[in-house]
């Protein structure tokens, strides 16, 4: 059971959160102008790093806020927690 440091509420058990997958995916501003392949990549292709993974979590059972987490997918260590909209930190 991971311990995730909610930027608002502090460390809470993983079960209070939901994991939203890769962070920093930007919805294309003009989907109509994309090819099928470009659109498909946006919808389906996701980073799946072995090592540091930047991902989004939502503290659904607490403050309800979404935020970003940098986590090692091998050690499960949480390396950084940062706000939505912030650039990913170097870890």
């Amino acid at each position: 059971m991971l311990l995730i440091d909610c930027p608002w509420c502090g460390p809470r058990d993983e079960v209070e959160f939901s994991c939203g997958g890769e962070a920093h995916i930007v919805r294309p501003p003009e989907p109509a102008n994309l090819s099928d392949a470009e659109w498909g990549d946006y919808v389906f292709m996701r980073q799946n790093r072995k090592g540091v993974h930047y991902e989004r979590w939502c503290h659904g059972h607490g403050c309800g806020r979404w935020f970003n987490v940098a986590r090692d997918t091998v050690s499960h260590q949480v390396l950084a927690v940062y706000a939505m909209g912030e650039a990913p930190p170097e870890v």
């Binding site: 059971m1 099928d36 659109w39 990549d41 919808v43 389906f44 996701r46 790093r49 997918t73």
Partner: protein, 416 residues
């Protein structure tokens, strides 16, 4: 390859089992092969076996970073069935099931395929509707399927709780009688022995760390044991597929998650079949050795650590105790996890890639063990002919662009 039989056992017993041949050799890698298979799981070994057996391509190496069968092949709950919803899926899984039915004899290695039936329970009207849809679809596809009432279920599996007062009562269930379980490790070993006997080099402790790709064509791989050349490379790396794809400059729509399982202490036979439940999320069978083999869900986060967490196990056991009340005083003996390669439409990707000579077989997620023989068979065809077999033609990577998904979520929600 010396044949295995009761007579061979008796003969060898007289010689105190001193003369059994190696099941497979452990050769040093050669500088070059006609084809390389990356990943020594069931699918990779089966691919090598069928390349050698059906396509005469025997100068093949299987490169395995650890020990063969040590990935998901060695850690799955061994459910084999083919009652998938869509014709494309039923096609490949039933192809596999037919191969399972003669696999021990084909490999001369007892993989203990046990057609004890697999039941999917319905706990609400929605599930019942979806399951019956599958039953009817299967009947048309020639996949055996029938619907059982709660009483029939109870008869088939006496320890199942069908009390109408349950929190999520059992409304019925779909049964596939030809489905069942198999001895997972034996599948890897049997294919390895079969492939090795036909000249395939099985090279363990050999991790692929990069690809040699020039002019859009694969030329070989870099490994922890040196560079190895080959004009064709098939990657069957399950949870590690994305890592290998990245090495080749490809992107996959795959996420790697831990999927957990556990076994109870061994007890005398109590569980005659396999029961899977979606709403009360758990599935359970009993191995020939006596443990109850129980599958849990995936942990929600991406992971490459083959370990899971306690809450998932708690929920699973809550479901198990609800469905099988007599298990309450049995004990969990071991829990573990595997890293599964989850695809958005819960169907695999098997086929060519933009790199010539490079093929991927992945995305089996939580349910690829049952496909092992079929997957190896069609992947060998794909590699040998440089084009997909009709059975795997629908499972292209391109479908995530065109939208031609093979959505098996319904069938795969407890997808094993």
């Amino acid at each position: 390859m010396a044949r295995y039989s009761i007579f061979a056992l008796a003969r060898n017993a007289l010689r105190r089992h001193r003369d059994w041949p190696l099941a497979w050799r452990s050769p040093e890698p050669k500088a070059a092969y006609d084809a390389i298979i990356v990943g020594g799981g069931g699918h990779g070994l089966a691919t090598a076996y069928y390349l050698a057996k059906r396509h005469g391509i025997t100068n093949v190496a299987v490169l395995e970073k650890g020990w063969i069968g040590g990935g998901n092949t060695g850690r799955n709950t061994t459910i084999v069935r083919s009652n998938y919803l869509h014709d494309e899926s039923a096609g490949i899984y039933d192809h596999a099931l037919k191969l399972w039915e003669g696999l021990s004899q084909e490999l001369n290695f007892n993989v203990m395929f046990s057609a004890r039936g697999v039941i999917n329970l319905a706990h609400d009207e929605h599930e019942a509707r979806e399951l019956r849809r599958r039953v009817f679809a299967n009947q048309l596809a020639g996949v055996d399927a029938e619907w059982l009432t709660p009483l029939q279920l109870k008869e088939f599996c006496p320890i199942l709780n069908v009390d109408p007062g349950m929190r999520y009562p059992v409304l019925g269930g779909a049964l596939q009688r030809r489905a069942g379980t198999a001895r997972h490790d034996a599948v890897a070993w049997g294919y390895a022995r079969g492939a090795d006997g036909r000249g395939v080099d099985i090279i363990q402790n050999c991790e692929v760390t990069g690809f040699d790709i020039r002019d859009g064509q694969v030329r070989g791989v870099r490994t922890t044991r040196g560079e190895i050349a080959a004009p064709k490379v098939g990657v069957v790396a399950a949870g590690h597929s994305s890592v290998l794809a990245e090495m080749a400059g490809l992107r996959l729509p795959i996420q790697s998650h831990p999927l957990q399982a556990l076994v109870s202490e061994p007890v005398k036979p109590v569980m005659p079949t396999v029961v899977m439940s979606n709403a009360v999320h758990a599935y359970m069978s009993q191995s020939d050795k006596g443990e109850l083999v129980i599958g849990a869900g995936i942990d929600s986060y991406n992971s490459y650590a083959q370990r899971g967490s306690l809450p998932v196990i708690e929920e699973t056991i809550q479901a198990v105790v609800e469905l099988f009340p007599i298990t309450s005083r049995l004990k969990m003996m071991r829990q573990w996890a595997g890293i599964v390669d989850v695809c958005p439409d819960a169907s695999p990707i098997i086929g060519l890639t933009p790199v010539e000579g490079l093929y991927f077989n992945c995305g089996w997620g939580t349910g690829g063990f049952k496909a092992t023989p079929g997957s190896g068979h069609v992947f060998a065809h794909t590699i040998a002919r440089d084009e997909p077999h009709a059975i795997n033609a629908p499972f292209t990577l391109d479908r995530f662009h065109s939208g031609t998904l093979v959505a098996e979520h319904g069938a795969a929600a407890v997808a094993h």
